[in-house]
Symmetry: D2
Subunit: 297 residues, 4 copies
């Protein structure tokens, strides 16, 4: 393929045969959001889409613009989808914000953790006195990036999972998409985990149930397009066939580059607010939007 994407939906779209074996697909619309459910059910499906077996839910928002109404209705739709992926058992949920807070398009994960309602440390006595007995146990962590810590995010999380034994892990990360117009407007939720650093192109140890030993729900928003992808898309749009030498030159020069909108600060701010609200609502189903926002917003 001519491009790199973290979105199962874009893989699915790129297949000429829209009904590949081993893949279930359906789509619907809720509150103006297009929701696609892709289930990769076997190895044939894995080969067809180049993604691991599991469920991938993609929400395509109608716009980047948020209003109070949108924030409420969109976070309702997203939290409902997240709840479908979360295991039913009780216990702490650990939420991890991957990425580098010093690189704006990679800061989605850390930003979400700063808006997370962490509750694991609140004693039952305090909950009772606050009339919050129904509060679920949630923990949050920003594991940092390999270049700064010398430790893979997956290793940090595995250590913490072994220590606090959550019933599930939610990882939030910035993703790479193929199409520029998706940036900040698409949310992928899946039960197959994540490869941190894919948003900026460095593959790391996968963070998934095999490695962590508990279910891993990954939530991501594309915030960059890979430089190679943009370059090759432009060429393809011009109807040019590249020979291997030219393709090699392009791959080499573009591989460390990312393409991102000029208003990336606003995009990250809005997306973080929406994702954090959706996660908080999925984890605390009895709290209202207003109560959550007055605490963490």
């Amino acid at each position: 393929m001519n491009f790199r994407t973290d979105l199962a939906l874009e893989r699915h779209e790129s297949i000429k045969n829209n009904n590949p074996e081993g893949v279930d697909f359906d789509a619907k619309e809720k509150s103006g959001i297009k929701i696609s459910h892709i289930t990769i059910i076997n190895e044939k499906g894995e080969d067809a889409l180049g993604k691991k077996k599991g469920r991938y839910i993609t929400a395509e928002l109608p716009s980047l613009e948020e209003s109070a109404d949108n924030l409420e209705s969109w976070s309702t739709v997203l939290s409902d989808e997240i709840k479908k992926l979360l295991p039913k058992q009780e216990g702490t949920v650990l939420v991890a914000g991957l990425g580098n807070r010093d690189i704006t398009p990679d800061a989605l994960g850390p930003e979400c953790i700063s808006l997370l309602l962490a509750t694991r440390h609140i004693s039952s006595e305090l909950k009772a006195s606050l009339q919050l007995s129904s509060l679920k146990s949630v923990a949050g962590i920003v594991p940092g990036v390999l270049g700064n810590t010398g430790i893979e995010a997956a290793e940090v999380l595995k250590g913490i999972v072994n220590q606090i034994e959550p019933s599930a892990v939610i990882v939030i990360d910035a993703l790479a998409a193929r199409r520029l117009e998706r940036l900040g407007k698409t949310v992928q939720m899946c039960d197959t985990g994540v490869s941190p650093g894919s948003g900026v192109g460095n593959k790391r140890q996968e963070i998934d149930i095999d490695f962590l030993g508990v279910p891993v729900i990954a939530i991501g928003v594309p915030t960059v397009v890979d430089g190679i992808t943009v370059a090759l898309d432009v060429i393809e749009a011009c109807g040019v066939e590249l020979d291997d030498v030219r393709r090699g030159n392009i791959l080499k020069s573009e591989k460390m580059m990312m393409v991102t909108p000029k208003e990336v600060d606003l995009m990250i701010k809005r997306a973080s607010k929406l994702i954090a609200l959706a996660v908080n609502r999925a984890l605390q189903p009895l709290m209202t939007v207003e109560d959550i926002m007055s605490i963490v917003g």
Copy 2:
């Protein structure tokens, strides 16, 4: 032209006729840095390069990697060039850091101001008691960006210039270059001022001697390549002639995008340290590198 650049040197390179009328050019090397002096001496030169009359000094660093030795020798070269552009008269120099600190590749200016040795408020009595009587008067400001403040950076600076009456203004800003390999490794210093926002593609009121009423030295480092530029470069490299419709489509889809390295945080950190040190040394010629770094570093 097929591309946008803030570098006079890239304009000069793009001209087939390397000796355009109205333009003086010479190049030399110092401490491994290639220094190019371009002087646009009249309107013919302005037309040829598409830049305003004045002096443009470009320093091309051999690498992004800094060592203690490089930092000392490179900042010596840069501060010597900056001193050539600074007016000789005494008085305060106001240093302005343009750009948006919330967008990593646009944060160069604000980062430099956080490393600036501001001294205007130190009384002569205190200077004398600190044995710093030779300390020059320097002020610093981060004017912010139009979208956040509602005020153009040029207006903020004009107001402050009228109020504190400096003898010169130095503006530091992130730039756009044509070539990806220049990012973080090239420094342009000129006496013609700057259009803020060019690094991320939004043209604003020029900040120059005509608008501010005092000499304006602009110092910039390219940190992004415009999306259009990358796309059109790729196409050109493939030997394709675009018709107007296709060109229009590309211009439309790419115009809000910027291309930047994945390690943009390190690039900005290193470039800010180097530029701030060079500016501090140019403004305080009697202080040592070590003394400046121990105060502001």
Copy 3:
């Protein structure tokens, strides 16, 4: 007096004679907030309270805890009071966030500006197309602190006021109070301007109508208690009379110290959200809380 405070209300409370000549005082309660109006009407009042002639409105919130309901009702009360102080004429309002964003209890002003709805740069055409024709013109600025910029905040503001000619200036700043229990829970709004740096004890050029030439509304929240004030309060509470030598020793050792709550980060975050919302509502009376929060929150 044994203490330093920026609150007219605390000056008033400290006077044995609760009905000083030249001072009007009345108090009421709205939505659980105690609102005190103090008007200093002449020089006798100035001498009695040690504050400049003008109106001082103090709101005492029932708690630090915010809920969605509180945020709406409290911001309604505060914005109503701010509107009483704002001049009626049309024109841009410039909002300035004083203080140092790198010192948590001093970051109130800069934090508020990051939540300000700046609109001055939005053209009438764009407003019309967004159906926002009633949007008032607002600009925002963070002037920085003298130690970092070499320029007094008052000078920065005077320059900008001369340049953009607003009809009024609102300055937001962290204040010092006498009583620890007030921190984060009291809001003072006045039409007499402000001395920046008082929150951390460094007196600067006053920012007021005399200096700027336009009405100046100051809004402040106490976030620190002066070290001297705490020490002398403790001593007084113990019924000790200090001799001049001992008093001098205390004044010397404590003068550079501030006392602040351990959860100062939460206090600043909550207070900034409330003040920014109240200011945005006062300046955009036709927008709803939800619309403002979805844009800037």
Copy 4:
């Protein structure tokens, strides 16, 4: 005792009998820094000083002011003392920066990690090609604070220690001192671990060899004085005997307050630079100050 302090030296000073049983003490001076070695050798010593058995090294810097010379000579002295506490065996050293980066006087630990030379992820091949074969393996982590993450810093570290199996852990944290004049100017290094949150008064699970299973070196700088300590010191200085009711009232009102210098941002910046440099030098004994600073500074 009338006060709270994290410094063994202040405990020692407060004892009338300067030669308590079970405690070894000696002091010397190096490069203008007063170095005190306190060894608590048995339970009698523990009872006398109220601190755990082990070695406490305290460095008292002559001033807050740094120059290039000071930075080099002071970091030499500190890194020599840190090396005395580090175990000799090879293996990764994990450095943890405790504290809350959103509260200026508590941000020392996170700031130091941002200046840490993390190397654990650099492959032997890359080290060889960079001629850095002698580079020691170092990892860094900012575990966050309980209120934001729901996880105790000790738990985060225990999980990571079990995962990456370092040969030792260094924890860096802000401390509370008794005396205001010590803030930012004293460094305590010990081999007994640390209670996170003591700098701001919230006791947590101890981080020590018993809990983590590997040697724990703690490095701290006092950045706050407890509100109670200041109040009670003032009272004592006035020669007043408090009865239990008055003492109780003071303890109650002051307990959530911290006292810190007004220029706390500069204090944290300087102390972080010095501590990070000393730690980097202790862990990479073959690198020069200049090389370390050009990479991380």
